[in-house]
Symmetry: C2
Subunit: 346 residues, 2 copies
């Protein structure tokens, strides 16, 4: 394969017999350069496939064709799938994405916003870290008129676009499904972080219980870090309390795997004795024994919707439009762990 040489403005200058400075000014639409020369330069640039330096161009025109994405961690199928959705949509429109992780660290989120502004990105898409409770670091983004989209972990405290799933409705469906399968003492695993997605899931769980006349028992709502070990601890806590739960709806897939492991240790039959549902449709939920029911947040769709909001914002005059909040539907995935009635009776 022949080596690809980087084409510069000097190649264009040589090609058409003008100075590099003239080429540069023509490409930058300088008023001193005649329309005829500009046309000649642009045609030559196109003919020899000249690609201007993206960042140098960004410094002149404010267009880097780069989108910066900040997620708490890339190490979750949910977030990496959202990134994939954004990326597919953006790549098809000649934009590139760069990904950064906040690791749920507030200071790292602040610094990353600074770095993205320095890198002259054309847009920023963020899922907030769990420890982010103030939002002043986004003021510079809004003040510069750089399109800002929040997805999944969002805030209503800024005038910025948001894409969320309907956490309330998803949790309601998951809980109703357990009730329809005959479970009556349904525990709920939630985060000790009072962020909106977890509050909405708790609300959906409570509403479903209320609608089916099942009393809400706050002792069955257990807080943890929502990781594997958190799910194990919450399950041991419930068992030690002797509260006689017969199902768990967990706001996290990791925590429900922890529950599954603890219950199997003491030979509890899933789903006959205890039904389990998680949240997020992480790939491993298919691989457990039994396979785990969960809520699929359609992450790729969330990514595409977020990207579409960005392109809508830049399509007009380049300024963000009025705030838009899109709420997407999620999908309940019922697998063995929550289905003890094989056939529904009509």
């Amino acid at each position: 394969m022949k080596k690809k040489e980087k084409i510069t403005i000097h190649d264009i200058a040589t090609e058409i017999g003008v100075t590099a400075s003239t080429v540069s000014r023509a490409l930058n639409n300088h008023p001193r350069i005649s329309p005829a020369t500009k046309k000649m330069v642009l045609e030559a640039a196109k003919a020899i496939n000249y690609k201007p330096n993206r960042i140098a161009a960004a410094l002149r025109h404010g267009k880097s064709k780069l989108i910066g994405i900040i997620v708490p961690t890339i190490n979750r199928n949910f977030f990496s799938s959202i990134v994939r959705g954004i990326e597919e949509y953006a790549n098809a429109r000649d934009y590139k994405v760069m990904i950064s992780q906040s690791y749920d660290d507030y200071q790292k989120e602040v610094e990353t916003i600074d770095a993205l502004l320095d890198a002259r990105v054309d847009g920023i898409m963020v899922s907030l870290g769990k420890n982010t409770h103030t939002y002043a670091h986004f003021d510079a983004v809004l003040q510069k008129g750089i399109p800002l989209v929040f997805f999944d972990r969002t805030t209503d405290e800024l005038q910025a676009n948001q894409v969320v799933i309907d956490d309330f409705a998803s949790a309601y469906q998951a809980t109703r499904h357990l009730i329809e399968q005959g479970y009556r003492h349904i525990a709920h695993f939630t985060s000790h972080m009072k962020i909106k997605i977890y509050l909405e899931r708790l609300r959906g769980y409570s509403q479903a219980l209320a609608d089916f006349g099942i009393p809400f028992d706050e002792r069955l709502v257990v807080e943890s870090n929502m990781q594997l070990d958190g799910g194990q601890e919450s399950t041991r806590f419930l068992l030690n309390q002797g509260l006689g739960f017969d199902a768990i709806f967990s706001a996290s897939d990791y925590a429900i795997v922890g529950a599954l492991q603890e219950l199997k240790k003491i030979q509890v039959k899933i789903p006959q004795e205890v039904g389990l549902i998680g949240f997020s449709n992480e790939p491993f939920t298919e691989f457990t024994e039994p396979a785990l029911s969960t809520v699929d947040q359609k992450a790729i769709n969330m990514g595409q919707t977020s990207a579409a909001l960005f392109f809508e914002m830049i399509a007009g005059d380049g300024k963000p439009k009025a705030m838009v909040k899109k709420t997407l539907d999620a999908q309940l995935i019922t697998r063995t762990s929550s289905c003890r009635i094989k056939q529904f009776q009509p």
Copy 2:
């Protein structure tokens, strides 16, 4: 919380009563500015916590303190853990990382290298895409003297630093473990892509068989895409051939889960009748029933080692030193799926 305003050179100028132009030239070490003024400007800049624009600084000095990372996909625990290792090491030294995915697409890898060069990154770390067989897109990186480190999926065709794990030794250990557990008809799942890591794993498997006097049977080496469906297909292929295998060593965790699912469908007992080992220690290998043996590639260590190579390169005169190739040890993780002898006899 008080809103944080972006501090500019104008603030420094006001602070010490000089022009913004003087501040700018002082910060850039311009020869026309006196040492006394430079000192005053630098002290004022420090006092009011002035942070220069990272990219503008990069254009002047060639230091963006940004490292670009390219991985085939972030949606693998192995790659996201390497990124974490790089990031921890780099952050501790005041460098930031930006992550891009090639999705194993050669053209996307080429374009991402261009974008990273445009973004004036100070270093590039890459795990090659499966479809990358030519390397001219890295010439510009090497020519500019930008430190380049390959990890895991590397090439010997460029004079660039590499960090790999000892795939041969890891595969040898995994196969030897199966032999020690009494398995004699050991199949191997490998990729149809002839990239180095898979060839080394195949070589380790073959060598272990040879050393223990077990004949190599090429019909037991099955190629697939190494995904879940590939593992299912390879297993059905082996079953349909009626070759009487009693173990599978897969070069991928995803493919071994596919095998587990297929074998369980027909009530094959794991590990009593067939032993299974995967590769990568993806988190779900702990959650399957039975839990899967696998090879832990110590990804965070690989990331830290890759980052350390970068910082060694920039520590001297900023030019890459002679090529270094680091080979790291991996660790065999034995779980239920491959352990049919509970106690080893001494």
